[in-house]
C-alpha cells in the first residue's frame, strides 16, 4: 500500500518535467577558501590558505633618541663655532685640537652620528673628521669608547646615518697606526647591520602581494640616472669599501673575523 505523504506536491506531467540541474562539463565546484594564520587548527583545514609570516622589520628604521651630543651642544660645552664660507660651512675651533682631551670629546662627537638635522649632524661629522685628521696617537686609546656610539648609529638603520657612519669608519681605520687592528675584537658588534644592508644597491619599494606585504629591491629606475654611486651614497658599495678597508688595515686576523660575521664577503687581498 502506497501511503501518500501529506502536503505533497501534485505529480508533474512528463512533458512538463524539467531536467535536473547538472554542473557543466569541465567546471569544478567552487570551494570557499579562508585566509588564516599559520600554526593554528584552522590552518590544517583543506579549504584554508595560510598567510605568510609577518615582516621582521630588519630594514625598518628605528626612532632616534636624544643624544648626549645634542645636550652638550645646546649647553655650549663644545669648543666649536660655525663659520659660513663660499663652499658652505666650516668649523672654527676655539681650542687647538692637539690640546683637547680625546677621551672626553671624541666619544661625544661619535655620539652625534645619530643626529640627522642641521647643525648637530654637520658639527658631529666635521668635528670627527678634524679630530681624526689631527689626532695621531691619541686616537688608539679611545677606540673601545667609540664602539657603542658606532653601534647605536648603525642600529638606527637610517640610510643617511648609515652612509655617514661608514665613511667615518673608513677614515677611522686609516687615521692612525694599529687602529684597524684594534677594531677587530669589536667586529661582532659593528658588522651585523652591515650584513643586513650589504646587498642594498638600489631603492627599496613596497610591493603588496595578495597574501603578504613584502619589501623588494628595485634597481629599475626607468630612464633616470642613479647618482648614488657618484655621490658615494650607494650603501652596498660603501659597505664593500668599508669591509675592504677593515681587511687591509686589520691585520692577519681581520679577514677571518669579517667572514665569520659576513659569510658572503670575498677577500680583496687574497684573491
Amino acid at each position: 500500500m502506497v501511503v501518500e505523504k501529506a502536503a505533497a506536491s501534485p505529480p508533474v506531467p512528463v512533458g512538463e518535467r524539467r531536467p535536473q540541474k547538472q554542473e557543466p562539463l569541465g567546471r569544478k565546484k567552487k570551494i570557499r577558501q579562508q585566509v588564516t594564520d599559520g600554526f593554528t587548527v584552522k590552518a590544517l583545514m583543506k579549504n584554508s590558505v595560510v598567510r605568510g609570516p609577518p615582516l621582521a622589520g630588519a630594514f625598518k628604521e628605528r626612532p632616534t633618541k636624544p643624544t648626549a651630543f645634542r645636550k652638550f651642544y645646546e649647553r655650549g660645552d663644545f669648543p666649536i663655532a660655525l663659520e659660513h664660507d663660499t663652499k658652505g660651512n666650516k668649523i672654527a675651533w676655539k681650542v687647538e685640537i692637539e690640546k683637547l682631551d680625546y677621551h672626553y670629546y671624541l666619544p661625544l662627537f661619535f655620539d652625534g652620528l645619530c643626529e640627522m638635522t642641521f647643525p648637530c649632524e654637520f658639527f658631529a661629522r666635521q668635528g670627527i673628521h678634524d679630530m681624526l685628521e689631527h689626532g695621531g696617537n691619541k686616537i688608539l686609546p679611545v677606540i673601545p669608547q667609540l664602539i657603542i656610539p658606532i653601534k647605536n648609529a648603525l642600529s638606527l638603520r637610517n640610510r643617511q646615518v648609515l652612509c655617514i657612519t661608514l665613511k667615518v669608519l673608513q677614515h677611522l681605520v686609516v687615521s692612525a697606526d694599529m687602529v684597524g687592528e684594534a677594531l677587530v675584537p669589536y667586529y661582532r658588534q659593528i658588522l651585523p647591520v652591515l650584513n643586513i644592508f650589504k646587498n642594498m644597491n638600489g631603492n627599496i619599494k613596497m610591493f603588496q602581494t595578495p597574501h603578504s606585504k613584502r619589501r623588494r629591491k628595485d634597481v629599475n629606475s626607468g630612464d633616470g640616472i642613479d647618482y648614488s654611486q657618484q655621490k658615494r651614497e650607494n650603501i652596498g658599495d660603501l659597505i664593500q669599501e668599508t669591509l675592504e678597508a677593515f681587511e687591509r688595515y686589520g691585520g692577519e686576523t681581520a679577514y677571518i673575523n669579517i667572514k665569520y660575521m659576513i659569510p658572503t664577503y670575498q677577500s680583496c687581498i687574497l684573491n
Binding site: A81, D85, T86, K87, K90, I91, A92, W93, K94, V95, E96, I97, D130, E133, H134
Partner: protein, 88 residues
C-alpha cells in the same frame, strides 16, 4: 725693510690652480692676504704645514679661533678665480 712690513703693490686673480694658489686660498679663507700678513699679524716665524703635501695645516684667525685644513687639495676649480695673488 722686511717683506712682511711691505704693502702689496698690485693684485691679480689666479687663473690656474697650483700649490701656491692652494695655500693662498687657505690663508684668505682664514681672513689674511697671504703668508706675509699672517706672520706679521700673529708674530710667528713658521706656519704649520702638512709634511706630505706642503699645504697649510692650521691657521689661527683674528678672533683666535683655529681653522684646520685637509692634507689634500681643498680649493676647487670653480674657486680658483676668486683667489687673489698679491705682488709686492
Amino acid at each position: 725693510m722686511a717683506k712682511a712690513d711691505l704693502k702689496p703693490k698690485s693684485i691679480r686673480h689666479a687663473k690656474n690652480w697650483s700649490d701656491e694658489v692652494e695655500n693662498l686660498y687657505r690663508f684668505q679663507q682664514a681672513g689674511y692676504r697671504d703668508e706675509f700678513e699672517y706672520k706679521q699679524v700673529k708674530q710667528v716665524d713658521t706656519v704649520e704645514c702638512w709634511p706630505e703635501t706642503g699645504f697649510v695645516k692650521k691657521l689661527q684667525r683674528r678672533d683666535n679661533t683655529y681653522y684646520y685644513y685637509n692634507k689634500q687639495r681643498e680649493c676647487e676649480d670653480k674657486e680658483v678665480h676668486k683667489v687673489k695673488v698679491y705682488v709686492y
